[in-house]
Symmetry: C2
């Protein structure tokens, strides 16, 4: 393969695109790999498409090697199967919906569990037909609220999705493991660092789920790991619950005047100044913060929720959303407070909250119907400073379990570095990553909803158990760009690069172009993929800058050295330049390429 820059459909840009927040987006656009067509929707130019095809090929090979069979579903699908599983509603505004000319409801599929389930139902009927794993590499659609970071969170993107079908749980375990192993091989082959973390199943349902994350500071997913081997995304981290404390000797709760303390900080200062405790200073961790939020269901219905948590922690909306999926969470607005005068902003306490409150009910309005959930750390016997539901007043020594209870607990508090791993494997450290794969042991949710059964050995109908396994193919490409670049441009690993060798002819000497042309053709004849910069009137500086931006792994410069019978071979990612006799160049460079692949 030989691409000539003089005719290749590419234009490099010296300026960063205005909307690019991350390196992969910036460089893929600047290097002419992709182009924005609409927010979160991209066009693939020739070089980008070549890289994408190579990533797809690795995914396809490993899926096939793992025994999965390739099929291809439409992107445009009728509503009915998604209605049967509830996802038509659950996806809320996150899917694209449309009507056809006859008024029929359709969607652009964000994922295909329903269709695979129905297809297998359509074709198979016996336990002997299973196990089965199918996959596709297909264009998916999600109407993201905030498409961002180029290919990392798009609205039209390529995904490999696979689905396994088994007659029993042991079968599902094996199918899940086979896909998990294939994912490891895929990311190993692509040279992409990854961490496998425990995850929540969210709207997908199912019993077990893991994410493959590639660590990068620009990742939008936060995950945790411990030195002892625990790894999870923050949504999946469960709080280590302390033991309940005895409170027989605890003093009675007492309300105090604490004017002008609308924040935790001001409250702690006043408490230490005016209600100092003998043993130690009050800290934010002694306060119980009650945060008013709104749950928005996919149907659009809204419900207030108050989350009580230690005052030294913030609510992590993504953790809370994972806990209340498919609802989304918003901060309460002025209108919400106006509708609930019993919520005294800055002085909210459990006294007036929830149907199960035993304790203080300091206002005259009676109890509210607002749902009240506690952080798991608020175990019986813990003592709190918290709002008294009266302006300028807080209550001290309010004891959980004695003075108040709630409607339950919720994992809504932020996870912090140093928190204990739930499995006891030590303190957690936090890192950021991009989700490049996600595997789910779905269980029987979809098969049940859509009636996928097979007859077992005894002729009895058994609901099939399923797994679902996704790789964000276009996102993987972006992650590769994130992991393989410097400030000058991209630096692709050889097996996904759009070409193996970038031959640059410099100057205006006819002999140079002739030699470069011959070398390019010689390499191509040896099976090397060559990008040849044959542009006649472009300066060496521009050509070198383009070579650095485009990121082909080996750059061969044919220029002044030709007078001495040599060309220069430079690895794009760094390393020594090598002078190679021009007569051997095709042979030597082809061998270096072979070593890289």
């Amino acid at each position: 393969m030989l691409l000539r820059m003089s005719t290749l459909f590419v234009r490099t840009l010296r300026e960063d695109p205005a909307d690019a927040e991350v390196a992969s987006h910036r460089l893929l656009v600047r290097a002419g790999y992709i182009r924005r067509a609409a927010p979160g929707i991209y066009t693939w130019l020739p070089l980008g498409l070549r890289v994408l095809a190579k990533v797809e090929a690795v995914v396809r090979e490993e899926m096939t090697a793992a025994g999965a069979q390739e099929v291809h579903f439409p992107a445009l699908l009728p509503k009915e199967p998604y209605e049967a599983t509830g996802r038509w509603t659950e996806y809320g505004p996150n899917i694209f919906r449309l009507k056809d000319r006859k008024g029929g409801d359709y969607l652009l599929a964000p994922t295909h569990e329903e269709m695979f389930t129905l297809l297998v139902k359509d074709l198979y009927s016996s336990y002997k037909d299973l196990p089965l794993t199918l996959f596709q590499i297909q264009t998916k659609y999600r109407d993201e609220a905030r498409p961002r970071a180029g290919l990392i969170r798009g609205r039209e993107f390529v995904m490999k999705d696979a689905y396994s079908f088994d007659v029993d749980d042991a079968g599902l375990d094996a199918s899940y493991q086979a896909q998990r192993d294939a994912y490891e091989r895929i990311f190993d082959r692509l040279g992409l660092e990854y961490v496998i973390v425990a995850a929540t199943s969210g709207a997908m349902g199912g019993s077990r789920s893991e994410e493959f994350l590639t660590p990068t500071p620009i990742g939008e997913d936060t995950f945790v790991r411990s030195a002892g081997g625990y790894a999870a995304n923050v949504e999946a981290v469960t709080t280590v619950v302390p033991d309940a404390l005895p409170y027989d000797d605890a003093p009675a709760a007492h309300v105090e005047d604490t004017p002008d303390t609308p924040t935790i900080e001001s409250l702690v200062a006043v408490a230490n100044e005016r209600f100092a405790r003998p043993d130690r200073a009050w800290t934010a961790a002694d306060t119980l913060k009650n945060v008013v939020l709104v749950l928005v269901q996919p149907t659009g219905s809204r419900e207030l929720l108050v989350v009580g948590l230690p005052g030294d922690r913030e609510v992590d909306l993504k953790r809370l959303e994972a806990a209340v999926a498919p609802a989304e969470v918003e901060a309460a607005g002025e209108a919400d407070f106006a509708a609930h005068p019993e919520l005294v902003k800055g002085y909210i306490g459990p006294g007036a909250l929830g149907p199960n409150v035993d304790g203080l009910a300091l206002d005259d309005e009676g109890r509210t119907a607002i749902r009240f959930l506690l952080d798991p750390r608020v175990v019986p016997g813990t003592r709190w400073i918290t709002g008294a539901n009266l302006p300028g007043k807080h209550v001290f020594d309010l004891v959980a379990g004695r003075d108040f209870t709630a409607d339950g607990t919720v994992e809504a508090a932020e996870v912090r570095a140093g928190d204990p791993a739930p499995d006891g494997s030590g303190p957690l450290e936090l890192a950021r990553g991009i989700e490049i794969g996600h595997i789910f042991a779905l269980g029987r949710k979809y098969a049940q909803a859509l009636g996928l059964t097979v007859l077992d050995q005894n002729g009895k109908a058994q609901v099939v158990t399923m797994g679902s396994y996704g790789v964000g193919v276009t996102r993987v490409l972006a992650a590769l760009a994130e992991a393989n670049h410097d400030d000058k441009g991209l630096a692709w690993p050889a097996h996904v690069a759009p070409a193996h060798v970038h031959v640059v002819a410099t100057g205006r000497d006819e002999a140079v172009f002739q030699a470069a042309d011959e070398l390019a053709r010689g390499l191509s004849a040896r099976g090397v993929e060559v990008l040849y910069d044959d542009r006649p009137k472009v300066s060496p500086g521009v050509k070198f800058a383009d070579a650095e931006l485009l990121g082909v792994p080996l750059v061969v410069v044919v220029g002044r050295g030709l007078a001495d019978g040599v060309v220069e071979v430079r690895p794009r990612a760094g390393g020594d330049a090598q002078q190679v006799p021009v007569v051997d160049a095709a042979e030597v460079v082809a061998a270096r390429v072979a070593a890289l692949l």
Copy 2:
């Protein structure tokens, strides 16, 4: 490659699907290649996907060989570019439209002229950048009123679309020819018979357009050809216009009572009975039939149109729609007639029609504002029997040009076998075909609308001239199935077949399965693509029927003959079965496969 029927995701069906009208649809579904997901929307199963990939590969190779560069555009696109060219409206109900969560208007692209134009505008600016041809193989969407015939007229389908960009007309001619040549190579390699016919440009615009049709009785396109080499689709056929006739000696028009003659047939009978002419009998060709139709614009606006044509011809709606594009045409309904009492059903004549009517105006209501167009054969001096716009009355000897004129002519009459070719190359014969490719010399319509210019040698901005070139990839696959089947099933040409060899193990003898397994692996090791029917408890009859249905070109039966040391090799498409010693079988069969490819 080795696929085992025992695990392959396929189920053959003995019954035809209820909705299948044509062989390709029936057999592709029965053989487990595709599956309907919604009207005109199909899922690809493993065998179908393999064939599709092979067709795509041929298209891709020939596009690349013709110098076209591959890119990939989104399917989901914003409205604005399509509004700039008017196609957002022109496509009417034929495209899928949707809104995103912010209320922005989007469409699922039916074709990508606008986006390619904008991309080239974005990247290129000089005549030196041209010529350029880009292509993609991509999923397209059209909300067909009547999706039919399986893959032949679908709503989601795969298309190869290419676009050329040139600075001048000579360049466009060369680019157009290069694509035309590539299309010939594609269809030659696929072994698909084709006819290149002149076509109309329709809603696409442009100066020149040709269709590639594959002849088949089930085709929905009618085309014509002459022995002298003329070929066109019926929409593009222009009527050979006879010379005007002198009418100085023609008798004056006269109205006659012709009760109970609402049809041409009854009118001709009455004319011959009561108004016989001396020289010959009246025929339907002596009558002028005036057909009331409704033009429906993409905006939904409706306008009545009357077409006058010889009574022996019907209006061909597709020809008329090509002439009035982007409007569509409907028959007038009762409400239309009720709104226009001057239209006396069964007795409509030109007297009261059109602003330019000279002649008889037999009613007292004055002239109507209805547009009136004539068949080109109705030249001045032709004499007609036609409606007198009064119930039960016709007018005789009404002379075109003397007694009536119209708002113009229109190519709306059906083309019939025996009609003269417009280029004088002899009488036309009619045939049916499937449109598998369509090439357009678009000219400057899109570049003008979207501002794509380049600077020429003199630094002057020139509007770029474009071509657009489509191959219906999924439709080509269906056409291949139409051309390669018999009543037992499919019979693929080797280069697009899902496998080269179908090894069938029959009986229950362990030795047979062992030998078949060894042969299948031996063939696979030689690079032969093998489908191996290793199902243990399936009868030979079922296996043979499946092999005939699936259509792999060579069938190798390992069965009873094994006792004598032979296997049988049968070509699926017919021809003698050959007994081959089992020890040589892999070698011999691999050689036969090589000869087929």
